[in-house]
């Protein structure tokens, strides 16, 4: 009796997992198939069938050249790296003083940073747009860099949590040796925060690579397009050519997939930590 029950139990278990996996993969797989089909083939064959030739890279060529996706990758990587380096620098600095010193306004400052998390960024764009354009940053990469850095409060929060739970003994022994506060930050705090930096890098990296609205709104110039906006542009010129759009989609997904496979462990840890603490 028990055996029968556990057999049907594990059947349901694997069947449901199989359905879950199919639901996650099939929508992407179909696009992958389409990206290798010729225009004629896409029009006449069933969307679920595999392409005739897996070596038909014509759609990829067109996506790259006519869709100008290299520009998109260049801009995304540039903005992503600069913004994250700034975020990490600024986040560790503010977290260091807020966690190690108690001064007149430290409570108020922590409150200001935490409250800012609640402001839904997407709607304040109405007013942020005025700030960016009055700073003369409209249609420059700095618009995105500053906005990604300036609104990264989750990063500050992760660093703060990390430092609050770390012991002060290293700081104290360094002070006995006569180290300045800056030396303590550079030699003790920064190395101590390395795991938290990895978390921030992953969470922010994914967020910036995938962000659509900030580049869309602040950098409409074609030479400034990022990965998201270059894909979004496909709707116009390639309107009905879904086989080319499919190639564009796959081009955007591949870097994410490759990084996910290699950094799986860090990515899981990053998001679990970010969510528990953030």
């Amino acid at each position: 009796m028990y055996k029968v029950k556990s057999f049907s139990g594990s059947f349901i278990k694997y069947a449901s997992l199989f359905i879950g996996v199919a639901a996650a993969i099939i929508p992407i797989l179909v696009v992958f198939f389409s990206s290798f089909k010729t225009t004629e083939e896409y029009r006449t064959t069933n969307i679920l069938t595999a392409p005739e030739s897996w070596l038909n890279f014509e759609n990829y060529r067109r996506a790259f050249t006519e869709g100008n996706m290299l520009v998109g990758f260049f801009n995304t990587i540039f903005i992503l790296l600069v913004a994250i380096v700034f975020s990490i620098l600024i986040g560790t600095m503010i977290a260091y003083i807020l966690s190690r010193f108690q001064f007149k306004f430290s409570k108020v400052m922590i409150g200001l940073f935490l409250f800012a998390v609640l402001i839904p960024g997407i709607t304040t764009q109405v007013a942020t747009f005025q700030v960016i354009s009055s700073l003369g940053l409209f249609n420059t990469r700095w618009a995105a860099i500053l906005l990604f850095t300036g609104t990264d409060i989750i990063g500050i929060y992760i660093f703060l949590q990390f430092l609050d739970s770390s012991s002060l003994s290293l700081d104290e022994s360094a002070m006995i040796d006569g180290a300045s506060y800056f030396t303590i930050y550079r030699k003790i705090i920064l190395p101590l925060l390395k795991p938290a930096m990895a978390t921030v890098f992953i969470i922010r990296g994914v967020a910036i690579y995938n962000d659509f609205y900030i580049p869309f709104l602040y950098m409409p110039a074609e030479r400034l397009q990022v990965v998201s906006t270059s894909l979004y542009r496909f709707m116009g010129p390639f309107g009905a050519q879904w086989e080319v759009i499919s190639a564009g989609i796959i081009i955007v997904i591949v870097p994410t997939l490759v990084l996910f496979i290699f950094l799986q462990k860090y990515i899981y840890n990053g998001f679990t930590q970010g969510a528990m603490k953030g």
Binding site: N46, I94, G150, Y181, F260
Partner: protein, 305 residues
């Protein structure tokens, strides 16, 4: 040996020679000035400005001078064109419960012994990492006439139930909300899985020795361990449902009855240049989010006490 302290004195500019008290003030100012500047420029100043704009009729250009009092707020709550969009968020709110249900189910299954555990975990989580524009396009292919969904249904002999998934006004929001579930389920799943796995293995083993079956383990060990996260997620679902933006914007441009509050706000500001009205909408959204957070904080505190 005696000389060392003396040598140090010559090096007056070195930070380490300043008293810790002076150093303290210097480092506090030096390290907080840039972060605070950014915080004010990109969070608080826009917020204050938005509040000011919300009482004016303004097209975003020139001076802000046409004061209209509460007129903009009145428009939001009386003009059905602006208020009806809240109806759309209900679809996404309901969808969140499906999302969390699936996430909890898969997290529970995968916290026990399963073959190819890492493969299942990875595949179920992966959609969350994907680019929003890519997801929007993938699901246009999915829902289009003769697309992925239609072909799958025909394969399983369900051809007669095929609908105009994105063109039928009574269905389109369900299609979009389902896309949202596909996109975000992996996130809840990985968080739940983390919480469940933080329960020490021995507790399950002890429960098994005491004759607890899987349902008992779920009910008395797993559920309590993720109760707090579950509550937090349910409350966050409210603000999430009102702030839905990317999926409907990319897939249907908010047309055909899929307009959400955020798309409406941004269109009002940047397409129709009614910055004053859009600002009032932004403030309304902010107030809703703050109220929800307040409820969450007090509710969770009560539960803890």
């Amino acid at each position: 040996m005696e000389k060392k302290p003396k040598e140090k004195k010559f090096n007056m500019m070195s930070l380490s020679d300043l008293s810790y008290k002076k150093q303290r003030s210097i480092i506090i100012i030096a390290f907080s000035i840039v972060p605070l500047l950014l915080l004010f420029t990109f969070s608080y100043y826009p917020l204050m400005q938005m509040f000011r704009y919300s009482f004016h009729e303004w097209n975003g250009l020139g001076p802000v001078e046409n004061f209209v009092g509460l007129e903009n707020y009145k428009t939001i709550f009386t003009d059905p064109e602006y208020f009806s969009v809240f109806r759309v968020s209900i679809y996404y709110f309901v969808a969140t419960f499906f999302q969390m249900g699936f996430a909890l189910y898969f997290a529970t299954i995968l916290s026990f012994d399963v073959k190819f555990k890492n493969f299942f975990k990875g595949v179920l989580f992966f959609p969350y990492l994907l680019n929003g524009v890519a997801i929007g396009f993938i699901f246009r292919v999915f829902y289009t006439g003769g697309g992925t969904l239609d072909s799958l249904m025909e394969m399983f002999g369900l051809g007669e139930y095929i609908q105009f998934w994105l063109r039928d006004r009574s269905i389109v929001n369900i299609s979009l909300a389902a896309t949202s579930v596909w996109r975000y389920m992996g996130f809840n799943f990985i968080i739940f899985l983390g919480a469940i796995q933080s329960v020490p293995r021995e507790i399950y083993e002890a429960a098994e020795v005491d004759g607890a079956n899987r349902w008992h383990q779920f009910r008395y060990i797993i559920l309590p361990s993720i109760k707090r996260i579950l509550q937090l997620n349910i409350i966050l679902a409210i603000s999430g449902a009102i702030s839905v933006f990317e999926i409907p914007y990319i897939m249907t441009q908010g047309q055909n009855g899929t307009m959400t509050f955020v798309i409406q706000t941004l269109d009002t500001a940047f397409k129709f240049r009614k910055v004053g009205l859009a600002s009032a909408m932004g403030i309304v959204l902010l107030i809703i989010v703050l109220l929800v957070t307040l409820v969450q904080k007090t509710w969770l505190k009560e539960k803890e006490a």
